[in-house]
């Protein structure tokens, strides 16, 4: 095989390797396309997620280049120096090393590392050192085994499992800054299309921010093992237009709905262990261990996203939580069928 032949062959191999690496990435990297996965890290809609993707693609390009070169060298070695059939039985020439060559493959990687490091440091600073503007929405997210508590200190809203935040117009950004706390073990907040993940660690307050530029529902889930039901500690972030968001806040600020037809259910709720863990504002229920139920029916899911919020599921959940989420901290309440119906009817009025 002549030298030209070799290098053509190597070039072709390098090109193939790059294509091999790039096709899947290109397929993943389409912000508009949600069909592939609602949790695709290459479909960002928020500034931090965008900056991370920019860096990621740069790192992928550099590593793909390195892969193409080294992989072609490996294949070349294997093909070219595989023992020929007409071996003369003699050992090949022994080469012990070469200072020049070894210096070259030390210096070039050092240069690549410097470039990668500077690019990375820039993105870290841009995300971690971003100042919080005065009009930012402030949210405190508290991780619990196995659900999320959200508090809006400025808006006097307390809710669970479904985070509502306003869309951020790039011309007039209204980012959301989230303080991350934990009530028990470590958790991690990861909604890939909005931002990378940050852990929620007891005694160690963290923070993160996002400025989503597209309304919609963004999914994610707890990304730090936190116990038995880590898998069903799902995240749902509703990015709403400013108007819808303000409307949602106003609704959440209403006192709990009460009505005569469900007073039996309310009585059972308030005289059993339910109120040890759950709060319904304006009533005797002021537990803090479980989710606040004041506006339970404004949420689309129960059990931290594990099931749709329907009366049937509510009843099933109250009767036997393990049938939906085995190992959750909600106990089976041991209510009779009639009591279950009454409590479910009551819960279904908490709009």
């Amino acid at each position: 095989m002549g030298i030209t032949g070799c290098s053509n062959w190597r070039m072709r191999f390098a090109a193939q390797a790059i294509v091999l690496l790039y096709v899947p990435v290109a397929a993943l990297a389409d912000p508009a396309d949600r069909s592939l996965s609602p949790t695709n890290i290459f479909a960002p809609v928020s500034t931090p997620a965008h900056s991370i993707m920019g860096l990621s693609l740069f790192v992928l390009a550099v590593t793909a280049g390195i892969f193409a070169i080294v992989f072609s060298l490996l294949v070349y070695c294997v093909v070219k120096f595989g023992k020929p059939v007409d071996d003369n039985g003699r050992e090949p020439p022994q080469v012990y090393g070469s200072n020049q060559v070894e210096l070259a493959w030390t210096v070039i990687p050092v240069l690549i590392v410097v470039v990668l490091f500077l690019a990375t440091a820039r993105v870290i600073a841009s995300i971690q050192k971003a100042a919080q503007p005065r009009n930012a929405i402030r949210v405190v997210a508290i991780g619990h085994q196995f659900w999320w508590e959200y508090r809006y200190p400025d808006l006097k809203v307390v809710t669970a499992n479904e985070l509502h935040i306003p869309v951020s117009d790039p011309a007039h950004p209204t980012p959301t800054f989230i303080t991350l706390l934990s009530a028990d073990t470590d958790h991690s907040f990861w909604v890939p299309r909005l931002d990378g993940k940050t852990d929620l660690i007891p005694n160690h307050p963290n923070s993160m921010w996002m400025d989503p530029q597209l309304t919609g529902l963004y999914l994610g889930q707890c990304a730090q093992y936190c116990g038995t039901q880590h898998a069903k500690m799902l995240l749902r972030v509703y990015v709403q237009s400013r108007q819808d968001f303000d409307h949602w806040v106003a609704e959440q600020n209403q006192p709990a709905h009460t009505s005569a037809p469900v007073s039996e259910g309310q009585h059972i709720f308030e005289t059993t262990a339910c109120i040890n863990c759950h709060a319904v504002s304006g009533t005797g229920a002021d537990g803090r261990f479980g989710p606040d139920l004041t506006h339970l029916m404004s949420r689309e899911t129960i059990a931290s996203g594990a099931a749709p919020n329907t009366p049937e599921n509510l009843r099933r959940w109250t009767q036997n939580p393990d049938s939906i989420k085995p190992g959750s901290k909600m106990p089976a309440m041991g209510l009779s069928d009639q009591q279950l119906d009454a409590v479910t009817a009551y819960l279904a009025t908490l709009h």
């Binding site: 080294v70 707890c222 990304a223 093992y225 936190c226």
Partner: protein, 562 residues
Amino acid sequence: MATDAITTLRADTASLPFVVKLHEWVTTVDHKRLGILYIVYALVFLMIGGVEAAVMRIQLIRPHNNFVSPEVFNQMFTMHGTTMIFFVVMPMLFGFANYLVPLMIGARDMAFPRLNAFSFWLTAFGGILLYFSFLGANGLYGDGTAPDVGWFAYAPLTSKTFSLGHSTDFWTLSLLVSGFGSIGTAVNIIATIFCMRCPGMTLAKMPLLAWLNLVMAVLVILAVSPLSAAQIMLAVDRYLGGHFFDTQAGGSAVIWMHFFWIFGHPEVYVLVIPAFAFASEIIPVFSRKAIFGYPVMVAATVCIAFISMSVWAHHMFTVGMNANANTFFVLSTMAIAVPTGIKIFNWLATMWGGKIHFKTPMLFCIGFLFQFLIAGLTGIMLSAAPFTWHLGNSYFVVAHFHYVIVGAILFATFGAFYYWFPKMAGKMYNETLGKLHFWLFLIGFHLTFDFMHIPGLLGMPRRIYTYEPGRGWDTLNLIVTIGAFFQAAGILVFVANLLWSYFHGETVGSDPWDAWTLEWSTSSPPPVYNFAITPEVRSRRPLWDLKHPEDPDWKYEYMERS
């Protein structure tokens, strides 16, 4: 005279009854027997850890599967991780170090034979203690069986509040016990290499395997000590009212992470450096060339060991360190790519211009090179902290470190098995079965771990016993599970090959590979005393000098480099 006496003794033992032979193995202080005990022990645990992996893969074959409960799944990934790191890869590599280091430096045994036996049995009982948890960890309240806190056991999940019963205690104590075993072996390897080299073997003439195991042993002492300290602190928290990691009493969960990862990252190099050592012995022999750039290989290894002590917090990019700390750990982590890259290039340069023989050991080493290249590159991706804000704790990371541990370390170790099997058993393995093992395992490995990267990019976190449909993860998880079964088939072929060849393999002489290091100068298997006459060496390849008196290495080793 002495030789005769020992030989007679050996001939006698061959005909002794089973109980006596068993007693000999249990009470042995011979480095070769202890090496084999380590290796067999590791193989048994490899099977157990593999079954645990299979249980997880069956559970994840489709969304909302109910093959096992969340409790069992959580125990499976905890036991799988703990088993594979502490009771498979470490003992396996210690076994090879034990067997090979004295032979390769021309010594008759390790420096401290009884410490050697003690260390092995500590490790062995550590593993048995861990598995006894299935029976014994119920505690007074019947809570918990096997540990279910994950192999890095983040606080405060390990505190009494969240981990009732004794499952966490079994985890803590078993790692503490086996950790002391590891430190004992490390001390022994260091002392052996520094004090027991044969005449003429200066440090600069040591085989690379000995050099790399020396660096590994130093890292073991530096890494396992903080882990043991952390385990003791955890036990104090749980039983003596300490609050090191008890967040409800003002303790710090993050301190545990620092302790664990200042062990955990050097540990990666504890595992991979011996794999480098295998590649550095096998690739030259099957390329029929001296290793390219020996001094640079040594320097790169020492350099990796140093840097590996300063990169631990790249496992903690998501725990909310400040921007400056994150930036520092990005730099230190990326820096480690340079010496690692040098090693890959030097292996390639060793093959360059050689005459490569594609025997099973070499096939596994080529697989090692290919997979270690990819593992290194995904490592560079993960060193970019913002990228890890996505990828950390996702299936991408799981795929990455399995690429390191299976794709690189296990492949190189399989290479080592086939390469040194004739030396250990005195019989040749079956080449056809060896190649079948290689191809089955290669296909299974790539089906499983190539496809495992993608769910990570699509937002799938690790350690979830089930997942929601509609996330684009279903098909990928199915493929990953299918690959696991190819790997299992490969492992069965491997074990069958070892057993069959041990009993029916072709008897080989002392040097079946026409190799160059001292272990090939003695019979296969070597006698108890290794060498009847202490060898004397003048270069890094004493057997090359012997076979090529017209062109010995010692003429060139210091002059050739221009």
